[in-house]
């Protein structure tokens, strides 16, 4: 296996310092969070960074906080494992915890961070659809600057985001949601573990007392250049009672909206068909009364 070429490593202790280092040192540098994408890119894709800026010494980036308005702030260095086991996230947004648990192995999840995963903008990232279904925002910081954009708009293409080279994704912010919000994330992949999604479907919805859907977000991963919302499918479900027929129709619409590619993993046609089926399942699972998955086995059995 290939080894890393010599490089310089910087360990700033503030966001400003990190941005300054990248500005001053120029091209050929890379931010480093958990390293589970970067080191693999160096080994497999032949990347040769001249220097890396390790963000892990910046304390403010690794916190999970609740704001007084009920919004949840996930520091960019929050690991996938922390999201998977956080009692707060498991209680409020179990499907987000579940999407994090779908990533790699436990060892990988102890290193891989939510910010690194989003900043690398892999179309199949499991957490992205769950966060988009929750209307998450990306907080982007530069030297003495800050802006907040919808995560949906943050991605612009495979591996591309709207950040400038000297900007850092510092947090993901989940706005407040009613306690009645429920959700589901289904990762559809050939192997149960240690694999990438063929298709990922996240659903978040809230219903009124008469079971009419009053709020719904459907987000898809791995079936377009970027994680996407299935807006036409959402429109079918909104203000309806979520019957099997409605869910089926929404699935069909989501399959039309997405734009998957054919590759070694799967054909575009198959991916579309799996979007149809899994969008339907995710909607029905999210709406179902009495079932909150806890263990991996329960989640797995529910998928099929």
């Amino acid at each position: 296996m290939k080894r890393t070429e010599p490089l310089e490593i910087y360990q700033p202790t503030s966001v400003n310092e990190a941005c300054r280092i990248i500005k001053q040192s120029g091209p050929g540098g890379h931010f480093l969070a958990g390293g589970t994408d970067l080191i693999i890119a160096i080994k497999e894709k032949g990347w040769v960074p001249r220097y890396v800026v390790d963000l892990k010494r910046i304390p403010s980036l690794s916190e999970i906080l609740t704001n007084s308005d009920g919004s949840l702030v996930l520091g960019a260095l929050t690991t996938m494992r922390e999201i998977e086991i956080s009692p707060l996230i498991r209680d409020r947004y179990p499907f987000l915890a579940q999407s994090a648990a779908e990533v790699g192995s436990i060892q990988i999840r102890h290193r891989a961070t939510i910010g690194g995963n989003m900043a690398n903008a892999t179309p199949s990232a499991d957490v992205a659809p769950a966060l988009i279904a929750l209307d998450a925002k990306a907080k982007i910081s530069g030297e003495n600057s800050e802006r907040i954009v919808a995560l949906e708009k943050f991605f612009v293409g495979p591996g591309k985001t709207l950040m400038k080279p000297d900007e850092i994704l510092t947090a993901l912010i989940i706005p407040p949601h009613p306690a009645t919000l429920r959700g589901e994330y289904i990762k559809f992949s050939p192997r149960e573990m240690m694999d990438l999604a063929y298709v990922g479907v996240a659903v978040a919805l809230a219903m009124d007392e008469r079971k009419k859907v009053k709020h719904v977000r459907i987000a898809l991963g791995a079936v377009a250049p970027i994680p996407m919302r299935a807006r036409k499918a959402e429109a079918i479900v909104l203000d309806q009672i979520l019957s099997e027929e409605i869910a089926e129709q929404a699935g069909g619409e989501a399959a039309k909206e997405c734009s998957p590619i054919s590759d070694v993993r799967s054909s575009a046609d198959y991916r579309r068909e799996m979007v149809r089926v899994n969008t339907k399942r995710a909607l029905l699972n999210a709406a179902s009364e009495h079932w909150r998955p806890t263990s991996w086995v329960e989640r797995r059995d529910r998928r099929y």
Partner: protein, 160 residues
């Protein structure tokens, strides 16, 4: 560019100099001489290189030495309790949990991570915890048996 790194390695304070780009796996094996940790894939897929970094199991093939200053590391060489093998090691020997033995250090580290958190795991929980560890001899049934037996032994020892 060499960088000075302070570590607690298997309980001992250690100061060493290493190039920032040196992988933790290579640092352990080639510079420190702890060859128990293995490289299977080099890309985070097999778990043979699992060590504990600040108490958490991680893939040492994906970590740069330059990230490590101040870290606490435990490798397979640090699993023993004094001169005694760890109950997980004993159970692997007793149950035939190792064939060629290449995946074994990683399996043992991950089994320890699991049993520290959950002393009474179900078979499914063991499979879930070990899903990032590949055994190319495919001795999974005996590995799982060994983890169950180790868990039992550790629970009994706690009651004694």
């Amino acid at each position: 560019m060499k960088k000075k790194i302070q570590l607690t390695l298997n309980g001992k304070k250690t100061i060493l100099e290493a190039p920032a780009h040196r992988l933790l796996l290579d640092l352990l094996r080639d510079e420190i001489g702890l060859t128990g940790t293995k490289e299977g894939c080099g890309t985070g897929d097999c778990g043979a290189c699992t060590v504990f970094l600040n108490g958490k199991p991680v893939n040492s093939c994906l970590i740069l030495s330059g990230e490590l200053d101040g870290a606490e590391l435990v490798t397979i060489e640090g699993l023993k309790i004094g001169p005694e093998l760890h109950p997980i090691q004993k159970a692997f020997i007793q149950d035939g949990g190792a064939q060629c033995g290449y995946c074994t250090p990683g399996m043992l580290m991950m089994a320890k991570a699991l049993l520290d958190e959950n002393p009474n795991p179900t078979e499914e929980e063991i499979r879930f915890a070990l899903s990032g560890n590949l055994c190319r001899c495919t001795g999974y049934a005996k590995i799982i048996q060994a983890v169950q037996d180790a868990a039992k032994e550790i629970r009994q020892a706690a009651r004694r």
